[in-house]
Amino acid sequence: MKTKIANNSLCLLIIVCTLSACKKDWLDAKPNKALVVPTRLADYQALLDNSQQMNIDQPSISMLGDGDFFISDSRYLGLSPPEQSAYLWAATKNFYGGAPSYDWQVAFARILAANVCLSGLQSLQELQQTAAYQNVAGSALFERSLDNFNLSQLYCKSYDHSTADKDLGLPLRRSPNVNISLKRASLAQSYGQIISDLQQAVRLLPQTPLYPTRPSKAAAYGLLARVYLSQSDYNQAGRYADSSLQLYHQLLDYNTLDPAQASPMSRFNAEVIYHYTLCNYLAFRTSRLKVDTSLYQSYADNDLRKSLYFIAQGTDQSFKGSYDGDRLLFGGIATDELYLERAECYARAGNTAAAMKDLNTLLKTRWLAGSYVPKVAASADEALRIILTERRKELCFRGLRWMDLRRLNKEPSFQTTIRRIIGGQSYTLLPNSARYTLPLDDFEIQKGGLEQNPR
């Protein structure tokens, strides 16, 4: 047999070529030093410290429709399709010009980041009692709640106790698994999630944050006050505004600011509890935004805000008073908002004296030193009227006016109709119009299978 094989000219060729290093874990080396598989608390904290994502671009396209400013016909033509639609409260069809809704997209990207943190923490339970763990957990819950809340003010109907069980809410994402597809929860469920996230955050967050870009207890209380205010639940709103002010209540004396500066307010100033800015739409640029004339004229000459908030643009006024200290518009949580919120809730509870005290404490810092005469109100109703007027004047261009219009339009005495004229044609937004709820973009309807808002 052996010889037979040899005769049959066996030819066998083996080439083995191995280029290998000796160590087995040689291929485990990280290809890029900057990459990690997150496992440590510090990794999740680092994700939340990404201010470029977490502290800018909060949903704000609704501000184009809130009536606090207008733009010229020629500037209108230069706006993007979603901005044009928002400015004229356009119909649902083609609202975003075929693009996805930016505000919706960036908010859900942040919610995903928050969910990545919250799900990552599940394998770090042994650290639950540490301050670092609690800061990550509390911050992630706060961020998720903040985005869900801001989204609800754009894409859901204004909260109404009698219909909230049936009204369309948000797809409530609680897991980082992107393969899960969700339907829209009810508005009541959405608010339930927003509030329970914040209540947990309050327990976890530190009293004083290391940076104003990180949330704190005062920030969570402050946001709770805002959330309850949007539900017209003035008992709770007042309670939480008070809780926040108990922790931090410093005000900035506007007499110390220089109106000659391009941005007189500095970033992280004494009033800022939590810093974030709004989506930077073209229409918000100083060169385009023209402040509503009657709003501008409502400031008295001794009111320092008249020169600190506004800058002349030709015959009109533009806005320069952002607490960002730069061109982005501030939308974060600050003490002035909480003073006004607590004042409003006192007035609504019939406590005129306490309401006017809060208002006067705030306004004294807004007027030229020595010129402020404390305002008085004969009744709680009058106090409320004064406070709401001052609220609009103090908090303009912070993305809050839309929420206020939605809730106040439910009260006949505070209803507002907004009008615009573009290209010779006039447009009107009536109180309680279905156009106060923005449409979802077509991708969410078709790909996400979500239900569109009736408008």
Binding site: V16, Q52, Q105
Partner: protein, 474 residues
């Protein structure tokens, strides 16, 4: 906070200038090749390879990728029982090859990427560089090949015929996600495909001797189809992906690169507006046509890549002269004709790229629709109207064509014939390339091999070229 004022306005933190960087790529390959021949009639071969790399974020057992193949060859003509005098040389071959593939840049687990100097705070921060896809697997491809090699006496007729089929499973691709997931797209194993084809090559010596003439014929066929696709593309995505843009438009049961378009109903008599169909009814609601046409209502023309292709080569030689003529052909496919898109001609910076001669052929007054299919120009431009027309069936044509690729003529002075030459050999040649398209199916005068992509108007047909030369060897 470490902020300082910027001039003229605003403020920013002072950069800490700290950063983390460092790249380390590691590759490891093991390779085995075995061949076994028996009685010079049977040959078996096998090869295997493992490619390892420090892929990030995958399980250790996925860091190496296997590739292997098996092959066998049987030289029938060397068997004792073989008695086919007509074909003194005949052999059969078959092989099977398999490989796995994973995209380096994607991983199954969530990974972060660190960076320094967060906006406002200067803190180190992280971003999600990859959101985990727990269902990620290797792409797997298998190819089986069967072939016959043959030659007649004195190689007068020789050639080979190969048949192959190919299956690919778990092909990686991007799927778009609803934004409420927090992402816009994710790469994953969303599709399978199957393909088959053959290559035939025959060479015939028509004449031998002083005047020799050899003809070589190449004929290939390739077809493929999508056998699984987890994504439901929109109509506007399908029409926007042409085969010639190397963007796949996968639809179950259709080729990976297919050509889809909107149904076309001509131009409106009064306005010159393009007319399409919506739910079977003629419509000029362009936004609805573009966005809401169900993919099933699109017109499918066929494959966007040639299904049959090859060439015919004739080589003649006489004394020192030799002449070579190459003709190529591509058959059985479709392409989309570039046309005018009015919205793009105002695009800043690239307007000149969007201008097309169809502008001149546009509908200008009622009645023109008898002579032209190019819509009227209306201002302000309507993007969806332009998009619908651009991707309507009227602009799809057959790509089939036959091309006279090249001719070369040369004369060789050899030292044998001219002993006084200072060279061992001297060759004079004339070479013409890209000579002409002999036949094409489309009536637009377009070269189907030179269709510009999208906005690109710089693609031109390869120009004919003629070269004359001298070549000497010492």
């Amino acid at each position: 906070m470490h902020s300082f004022n910027l001039n003229p306005s605003g403020n920013a933190p002072i950069s800490s200038s700290l950063g983390i960087a460092g790249i380390d790529e590691r590759l490891r390959s093991s390779f085995v090749n075995l061949a076994y021949g028996y009685k010079a009639r049977y040959t078996l071969s096998a090869s295997a390879r493992r490619d390892g790399s420090n892929y990030f974020g995958v399980a250790t057992n996925q860091k190496t990728i296997p590739l292997w193949s098996l092959g066998a060859k049987w030289d029938i003509s060397k068997e004792g029982f073989y008695a086919l005098g007509l074909l003194p040389s005949l052999s059969l071959r078959c092989s099977y090859g398999y490989n796995g593939n994973l995209d380096r840049s994607i991983t199954g687990v969530t990974t972060f990427e660190y960076a320094s100097n967060a906006r406002y705070t200067n803190l180190p921060y992280a971003t999600i560089s990859n959101i985990g896809n727990p269902e990620l697997r290797w792409e797997q491809t298998g190819i089986a090949n069967f072939a016959i090699d043959f030659a007649s006496a004195a190689n007068t007729i020789s050639g080979s015929m190969d048949y192959y089929f190919k299956g690919a499973r778990d092909i990686l691709g991007y799927k778009t996600f609803a934004s409420n997931t927090g992402i816009s797209a994710l790469e994953g194993n969303y599709s399978d495909m199957a393909g088959q084809g053959f290559d035939l090559s025959v060479s015939v010596k028509n004449l031998t001797g002083r005047l020799s003439w050899t003809t070589t014929l190449l004929f290939s066929h390739a077809s493929d189809k999508v056998t699984r696709y987890d994504i439901n593309p929109y109509a506007y995505q399908l029409v926007g992906a042409d085969g010639n843009q190397s963007v796949a438009a996968p639809v179950l049961g259709k080729p990976v690169f297919g050509l889809f378009s909107y149904r076309w109903a001509g131009l409106a008599h009064a306005t010159g507006n393009p007319v399409g169909y919506l739910k079977g009814v003629a419509s000029q609601d362009y936004t609805a046509i573009v966005e809401n046409t169900p993919t099933g209502d699109l017109v499918y023309a066929g494959a966007a890549r040639p299904r049959y292709y090859g060439g015919i080569n004739n080589r003649l030689s006489y004394r020192g002269f030799s002449l070579n003529i190459q003709i190529n052909y591509k058959l059985g496919y479709y392409f989309r004709k570039p046309t005018i898109n009015y919205s793009n001609i105002t695009a800043a910076g690239t307007a000149y790229l969007a201008v097309n001669q169809d502008l001149d052929r546009r509908w200008k007054s009622p009645g023109d629709e008898r002579y032209t299919q190019v819509p009227s120009m209306v201002y302000p431009f309507v993007q969806d109207r332009d998009f619908f027309y651009q991707y309507a069936a009227i602009n799809v044509g057959k790509g089939d064509h036959v091309r006279l690729q090249d001719i070369s003529l040369s004369y060789e002075f050899s030292q044998k014939a001219y002993p006084s030459l200072p060279f061992k050999g001297l060759q004079v040649f004339l070479y013409a390339n890209n000579i002409a398209i002999l036949w094409k199916a489309n009536h637009w005068g377009l070269d189907p091999d030179a269709i510009p992509l999208g906005n690109d108007r710089t693609t031109m047909p390869s120009p004919p070229s003629i070269a004359f030369g001298l070549k000497g060897s010492f």
